[in-house]
């Protein structure tokens, strides 16, 4: 990473190399140019030691479902690969076959099957195999659930009751009604972490007395690129760290106006010798709305940029894989791809 910018000039080589420049009506200097022979006197060829020195990860927040972290010192080509893999290529388990024994609800079979498919399943996908199209289901590639719910009147309810939840039994079918049916040695293998839907309170269908749903569902391992139900994340995004550079000083009423151009917490007003002065304290909070560039008085006083190799990642897991495991798995997927291509290329060269 290029050192922090003190210099306001923004078309110098260092800035063009390391910053994306945000102007009033356009964004420039977006492409990375850090390649050998591009800049005289600078050796930009690949250097693993240098990369290790500059590369940093800083985790900001972590919870069971979300993680925000900074990945610094890497190119967008690779950061974007991780984002893409998180969305589309980290495998999970999801319901892919629904065998309908009986469905007298108002939800037709195919809609019911689709709704069931989108229910996130809490099962470790690394403990299962992909099931090829012509392969038969085994306990190593399939998880079976039963869903058998019948709606009845609640004999205990008062005759004037109008709330269906009290008036009837099983007026709503929830994801929690899916009962895992362990096959083979699954009960033994997963005794520490029983397989179930991530959430028990997802409404799948609504029933009225006499209606019934009786289905068997099979979950298989899959990738988000085949269907979004296999995507392990709700979102995986990154943004570049914003940067606000002030030329000289912004003081007095202009400082107050300057502060109001940014979200709360980005700019502070510091008083010294009875003069109010605007100081940028936390550019990370800036949404880069560019409001400040609309005002003539700040022309040539402020420059907005983004640090090209500083990625603020947010991973929001659907719940089946914890976010800190998701990133490791995503990076692993890219490594596997490299290994696979390498082996395939060797094989191709040998066969020629």
């Amino acid at each position: 990473m290029v050192a922090e910018k003190k210099n306001f000039k923004y078309n110098d080589m260092d800035t063009l190399r390391s910053r994306v420049i945000v102007e009033r009506d356009r964004v420039t200097s977006t492409a990375s140019t850090d390649f050998p022979h591009n800049y005289p006197g600078i050796d930009l060829s690949w250097n693993f030691e240098k990369f290790k020195e500059n590369f940093k990860i800083k985790i900001n927040r972590l919870s069971k479902s979300e993680m925000e972290f900074d990945m610094i010192g890497i190119d967008a080509a690779i950061a974007n690969a991780f984002r893409r893999i998180l969305i589309a290529e980290v495998p999970t388990m999801a319901i892919s076959n629904v065998f309908v024994m009986n469905n007298t609800s108002v939800v037709v079979d195919e809609v019911l099957a689709h709704r069931l498919g989108l229910v996130p399943i809490l099962a470790d996908p690394t403990k299962f195999d992909f099931k090829a199209k012509d392969e038969t289901s085994t306990d190593l590639n399939t998880i079976v659930f039963r869903l058998n719910v019948k709606c009845k009147r609640n004999p205990q309810a008062s005759p004037t009751e109008t709330d269906p939840l009290k008036k009837y039994i099983h007026s709503s079918v929830y994801s929690g009604d899916l009962i895992w049916d362990p096959k083979g040695d699954q009960a033994e293998r997963f005794k520490d972490s029983p397989i179930k839907p991530v959430h028990d309170d997802i409404v799948i269908a609504k029933l009225r007395p006499g209606q019934e749903i009786d289905v068997e569902v099979h979950c298989e391992k899959g990738l988000g690129q085949d269907h979004a139900k296999w995507s392990p994340v709700a979102t995986a995004t990154y943004r570049l760290l914003p940067e606000i550079l002030i030329n000289g000083e912004i003081t007095g009423d202009a400082a107050i106006k300057f502060q109001s151009c940014f979200p709360k917490g980005v700019v502070d007003i510091v008083e010294g010798n009875g003069v109010k002065k605007a100081v940028v304290v936390n550019p990370r909070k800036d949404t880069v709305s560019r409001e400040v560039l609309r005002h003539a008085e700040f022309e040539n006083k402020v420059k907005l940029t983004r640090v090209r190799d500083h990625f603020i990642f947010t991973i929001e897991s659907v719940g089946s894989i914890e976010p800190q495991d998701l990133l490791v798995q995503a990076v692993q997927v890219l490594m596997d791809k490299c290994a696979q291509v390498k082996r395939a290329l060797q094989a191709t060269l040998q066969s020629e």
Binding site: F55, S63, I78, N80, E89, C338
Partner: protein
């Protein structure tokens, strides 16, 4: 359903390499210093990342990728190098560099997690 664990073990021990996964597009390797590789079932994820590591190699004069048609799951990767290396060697170096980057990222990330210097909130949604 039956357990086929033993059958699966046997499968794992025999490594199956699909030669169709990577091919050299016919007519593109007029000399060892240039070639267009066709990567089956790969997209921008590997294409762009690999392009970047290739371009970082000072002996690579040209590296670029394209997806010829959106309905075909394949990526073409063109490499031209100086006389000091060959397109195939550059490709192997690119793949190795990318693997190095990945393993370093995993290490760094796991070290950060182990340090535990972050806000943790079990149920938190931000």
């Amino acid at each position: 359903m039956s357990t086929t664990k033993s059958a699966r073990m046997e499968e794992d021990s025999v490594e199956v390499v699909d030669t169709g996964k990577v091919t050299i597009v016919p007519g593109t390797m007029t000399e060892p210093q240039c070639a267009t590789f066709c990567l089956q079932d790969e997209d921008h994820t590997l294409g762009n990342a690999l392009r970047w590591t290739l371009m970082k190699n000072p002996e690579v004069d040209f590296a670029s990728y394209s997806i010829p048609h959106p309905s075909e799951a394949r990526t073409n990767l063109r490499i031209q190098t100086s006389d000091k290396t060959t397109a195939v060697d550059a490709m192997f170096k690119g793949l190795d560099d990318l693997t190095d980057i990945c393993s370093h990222i995993i290490q760094t990330f796991q070290a950060e997690i182990a340090k535990g210097e972050f806000e943790y909130d079990e149920e938190g949604v931000f």
